[in-house]
């Protein structure tokens, strides 16, 4: 039965159709999809504090508003990715608020502080262009329906960020003098960092399952030139120099790639080429602003949590107690089975909204008895009320990934 599911999956993929739910996926596909979503969500999320710290230096309320509008978009885009991850069984709260700063997966460029309005608009013109290339590819190719649909909003808005970056870069260049010099300095350190954004050259890269699964369509060596072909001519058009030039139909970098970067001084040493291993270890160590940005995000969450301490801990204890109760007929707990629709606390009474897999479920009395007994054993609980509901009806799509895997291991096709 497992193999028929996998054949159906291959069929959908081959016909260029969209995958719509976990039940249509193979575990490998689910893993690659989650990984790709995490990178995308993290990138959008971390761009927000990176841009915010620079938007504080906005020269006027109008400029500040534009900065905030862009940040709002980036956050909403992160929300799309994290909410899909949540639908796939991950915890949005754990991903955003409980992860170690070094565990976030976003381009190294955001770890180097943007410290002025000028650097922010250059980021809009170059970083957001890179995001536009990468997401545009995903939007076009993506085999996972919910994400493909979510990206419609994302693409439209990223376009606005690019325009802001370009308009302001042009304006600053036209102002000349010290303003233009500052713009040139920003481009000098940010251009090579954005080139790095597209990752290792294809010949050094391991085989990409993302391409097989149509989670993206273009390779690093195809995306990088796409970016160069928009950014290089634009910078030339506003009189700003970049270390790359056009040869026939393609663009060539004027410096050894990769090179050594001093993040504190924001300086490249093009006389000191390095290896991709050096670059990878710089990325892994993360840059100067990584911890600060994640802390900004997580601080009020951890401060707020103790306020909700009692409710949260009891609520969580009840969910984990329910996750200890197995279905009498199958090796799967009630939470993974997806029959618990909600838990509410009313003083010392716990109300559980429960459904069954079928109306004539012979084990229903036994399950209700198990729940009552187990929850009454929790400190802080005096009474247990169980509301059996049939709306919405249970379906196998309500099972968690873990539950599905447990049943597959047991030999049941789900």
């Amino acid at each position: 039965m497992e193999s028929s599911n996998s054949a159906a999956f291959e069929g959908l993929l081959k016909r260029g159709e969209l995958i719509e739910s976990v039940s249509e996926m193979t575990p490998d596909y689910l893993r690659e999809l989650k990984h790709t979503l995490i990178v995308s969500g993290d990138t959008e999320l971390i761009s927000a504090p990176a841009y915010y710290l620079a938007a504080r230096k906005a020269p006027s309320v109008n400029a500040f508003m534009t900065g905030i509008a862009i940040i709002q978009d980036e956050l909403a885009h992160a929300h799309i990715a994290y909410h899909i991850l949540e639908e796939l069984g991950e915890s949005q709260e754990a991903l955003i608020f409980k992860r170690d700063p070094k565990a976030f997966r976003y381009p190294y460029a955001f770890d180097v502080p943007l410290e002025s309005w000028t650097e922010l608009v250059v980021a809009n013109a170059m970083y957001d262009q890179a995001g536009f290339c990468l997401l545009g590819d995903i939007h076009e190719q993506c085999s996972y329906g919910p994400w493909k649909r979510g990206l419609v909003k994302v693409m439209a808005e990223e376009n606005f960020h690019l325009r802001n970056g370009r308009n302001w870069s042009k304006r600053i260049s036209q102002a000349g003098g010290a303003a233009k010099e500052e713009l040139q300095r920003a481009v000098d350190w940010m251009f090579p960092l954005t080139v790095e954004w597209f990752g290792l050259p294809d010949n050094l890269k391991q085989h990409s399952a993302q391409l097989d699964y149509r989670l993206k369509g273009l390779t690093n060596d195809q995306l990088r030139p796409q970016w160069l072909s928009t950014v290089v001519p634009f910078m030339a058009s506003i009189g700003i120099q970049v270390p790359a030039h056009q040869e026939n139909s393609h663009y060539v970098l004027d410096y050894p790639f990769p090179s050594t970067f001093d993040a504190e001084a924001k300086r490249w040493d093009f006389n000191d080429p390095c290896t991709w291993d050096d670059v990878l270890s710089r990325w892994r160590a993360r840059g100067p602003r990584n911890a600060e940005m994640v802390a900004l995000f997580q601080e009020s969450f951890s401060k707020f949590l103790p306020q909700r301490g009692r409710e949260i801990s009891l609520q969580q204890r009840i969910w984990s107690a329910l996750a200890q109760i197995d279905d009498p007929e199958m090796p799967i707990n009630l939470v993974d089975l997806g029959v618990v629709y909600g838990v509410a606390l009313e003083g010392r009474t716990v109300r559980v909204r429960l459904t069954f897999t079928a109306m004539g479920c012979p084990a229903s009395d036994m399950i209700i008895g198990d729940i009552r007994e187990r929850l009454l054993a929790e400190p802080g609980v005096d009474e247990v009320a169980i509301d059996v509901v049939w709306d919405p009806p249970w379906s196998s799509s309500r099972m968690t990934v873990e539950g599905r895997e447990a049943l597959r291991a047991w030999g049941l096709s789900v």
């Binding site: 719509e20 949005q92 909003k153 808005e157 409710e311 909600g342 838990v343 709306d391 379906s395």
Partner: protein, 74 residues
Amino acid sequence: MGFVRVHHDVQEYEVFARKTRLEPLRQVGAVVAPDDELAMAYARATYDEERWVEMMIVPKAAVIQLWAPGEAEA
């Protein structure tokens, strides 16, 4: 399993909107919130990519699915 936020209990809402009086409502996304009021505020803030003529939210738990992709195509 239910979604988790700092609030003690939350639920998911589907967000529907349309751009013109002519077109039908379509699903534009989802929000997770502890109550209808916050869900309304979130839907409005999160899905502001268009000047919608109409927007509404529905608790996901109230949506009844008749069949899913794959079930009617065979």
